[in-house]
């Protein structure tokens, strides 16, 4: 087989696929962060913990109740999203009149609590979650081997991202949401229940994170720390993309995943930090972020 730039194509495309999958998680998580930030004006530091919770709850459903992957894909976002709704009602909603930093600190505390409990009861060694039988195996595409499950993750996350984009940009519900992001008191004056909308938006953002967690469970083992390190990279992704645009978040997420995958092929030592380096460059050239609106 021919080598591309001295790299066997199997390795190159394998890493690109891995990059695309990481990118899918970056995209879903940064999308959720952007939606929450748009309406609530807080950065949801618990987002990584909620992603982990998604993976953990799907493991619990399978092992305690025998509920399989496909039901988990539906149920887990609802369950975890509902915990998000409760958190917003009981805790976060008390902070809207304060400096945004307090929202960050509160959700940081929530992340510590969620991760601490998971570590306490499930250890840090990681819980295995088997790939559903329908998606086991893979396809030989000639230039690379594509495990079915990984292909599914890319397709499913793209579908979720595009659906979210469509709902927010093209439907009436999305129009309300965008209007409330611009000017909540005016939207409230038109008779729309803005506080309820805020609550549901937070729940939806959390549900997105949980959905990503379910997708991730069979790829990475379910680990209490799986969200903590990921969320910091997602923060960098959000700084690079800016939170002004839904489509921007999706593109930045997938794009950076691919860049990270390529780095892993050509300069493996740099793959852990390449996104942070790109963040630094973007801050120099376009401080508001690639798709950001200047405040």
């Amino acid at each position: 087989m021919i080598d591309l730039l001295g790299i066997p194509p199997q390795a190159l495309f394998g890493q690109l696929l891995l990059g695309l999958i990481n990118g899918a998680f970056y995209a879903i998580l940064s999308l959720g962060l952007a939606i929450i930030f748009g309406l609530l004006n807080i950065i949801n530091f618990a987002h990584g913990a909620q992603y982990m919770l998604g993976a953990l709850v799907s493991w619990m459903l399978l092992n305690y109740l025998g509920i399989n992957y496909w039901w988990a894909l539906l149920l887990v976002p609802i369950i975890v999203g509902f915990t998000g709704v409760v958190l917003e009602r009981v805790l976060i909603s008390r902070l809207y009149h304060l400096d945004h930093l307090y929202g960050l600190l509160l959700t940081f505390g929530l992340a510590l609590i969620i991760q601490g409990f998971a570590r306490n009861y499930y250890g840090i060694s990681g819980l295995p979650y088997t790939i559903p039988s329908q998606l086991a195996g893979g396809q030989n595409l000639g230039f690379m081997f594509l495990p079915n499950y990984r292909g599914w993750v890319v397709v499913a996350s793209l579908a979720v991202c595009i659906t979210t984009w469509f709902v927010i940009e093209k439907t009436k519900l999305g129009a309300y949401l965008r209007a409330a992001t611009e000017n909540p008191s005016l939207v409230g004056a038109f008779g729309i229940n803005v506080p309820r909308m805020i609550t549901l938006t937070y729940g939806f953002g959390v549900a997105l994170a949980a959905f990503a967690g379910v997708l991730a469970a069979p790829i990475y083992s379910v680990n209490p720390n799986m969200g903590a390190d990921l969320i910091i990279v997602v923060f960098a992704v959000v700084v690079i993309g800016g939170m002004g645009s839904i489509l921007g978040s999706i593109l930045t997420g997938f794009g950076l995943g691919l860049v990270e995958g390529l780095t892993r092929v050509f300069y493996p030592e740099g793959s852990a930090v390449v996104i942070f380096v790109i963040m630094a460059l973007v801050l120099l050239v376009k401080p508001a972020g690639l798709f950001g609106r200047t405040a």
């Binding site: 945004h100 903590a228 910091i232 990279v233």
Partner: protein, 327 residues
């Protein structure tokens, strides 16, 4: 319900910002010094030194957060980075502890200059995210670079002889060196806060556009306070490396930044003495609960949540409000 944030929600009691130190501040400093001088005869000196190092770390963060209004979630990079440099200087280069600590402090300042000049390009929560991301970069660097010892860290750092003369191997002599460093650091922070520079910082915190329109080069001020804060965090980390004879990945991990923020928050953001109290509370708690493992994290999480919801002024902030005096 309005989602728009009120300005000045981090408002503090009015303070006398320049001029001579008010009498009761002198009294508090004297009292602290007196307590610190007799404490090692009653309490375990290593524990006290840990409290002091973290107190200086939290005060450094508070200089940036409480007085500059900038939340850094990446201060572990300066604390831990300086710890590595001073540990390396003392162990591999065989330098005396005071030189190792100075080198560590300078490395903290340098790292602060680099990270700060990127971070000040964004405001508010973006600032927090940028500092966090850069600190994670420093963490990965510490994980991979050969001189940091990876997972093992730098162990068995010699305490050495102060100025090449006074042996620091006894906890008592080390204690008084640490006390001198930390007390000096606190006085420096006090001086910075109450200087004209500190006044301008306060103005920027309260209303940045107005400070700009008054002709202040806001970014220079922000960068300066960032570097000062990073240097002081570095001083704390470098001292800690000599005291515990160890620099490890824990020191550069994001959870260390979170701890500094927590200490500042429960002690009282924007108060002079708050972070000291916060550090004492958190370190004591960690000490007594160390056997509980992951519960420490859970309890810290709950403290965060409770502090943000009910207790935003912090311990010292509440006392200051009651006394109607800035503390």
């Amino acid at each position: 319900m309005s989602v728009v944030a009120e300005p000045n929600t981090m408002r503090l009691p009015e303070e006398r910002t320049t001029g001579a130190m008010p009498g009761y501040h002198i009294a508090i400093f004297a009292l602290l010094l007196g307590l610190a001088l007799i404490a090692p005869f009653f309490l375990y000196p290593v524990f006290l030194m840990k409290v002091m190092c973290f107190a200086l770390f939290a005060c450094a963060l508070n200089l940036l957060l409480g007085f500059g209004g900038l939340l850094s979630f990446g201060h572990a990079a300066f604390f831990g980075g300086a710890a590595y440099v001073s540990a390396h200087a003392a162990k591999v280069w065989g330098l005396t502890p005071e030189v190792a600590i100075i080198l560590g402090t300078l490395s903290g300042a340098l790292l602060g200059l680099v990270i700060g000049s990127f971070a000040i390009r964004r405001q508010g929560i973006y600032f927090a995210m940028v500092t966090l991301a850069f600190a994670q970069m420093v963490y990965f660097a510490a994980l991979q670079m050969p001189f940091t010892g990876g997972e093992d860290g730098i162990q068995n750092v010699p305490r050495g002889d102060l100025f090449g003369v006074i042996s620091l191997n006894s906890d008592m002599s080390l204690y008084f060196m640490v006390l001198a460093i930390v007390f000096g650091g606190l006085l420096a922070i006090y001086r910075i806060i109450h200087s004209p520079f500190g006044q301008v910082l306060k103005a920027i915190r309260e209303n940045e556009p107005r400070a700009i329109s008054l002709g202040y080069r806001v970014n220079n001020y922000k960068l300066t306070v960032f570097v000062l804060s990073a240097a002081l965090a570095g001083l704390a980390g470098a001292t800690k490396a000599i005291v515990f004879q160890l620099a490890s990945l824990t020191d550069v991990h994001w959870s260390m930044s979170g701890e500094a923020v927590l200490m500042t928050l429960i002690g009282g953001m924007g108060t002079v003495f708050g972070p000291l109290v916060g550090a004492a509370i958190i370190v004591t708690m960690q000490n007594y609960l160390a056997s509980l493992g992951a519960w420490v994290t859970i309890i810290q999480g709950f403290i965060f949540v409770i502090a943000v919801l009910l207790f935003r002024e912090g311990v010292v902030g509440l006392i200051a409000k009651r006394l109607r005096r800035p503390l």
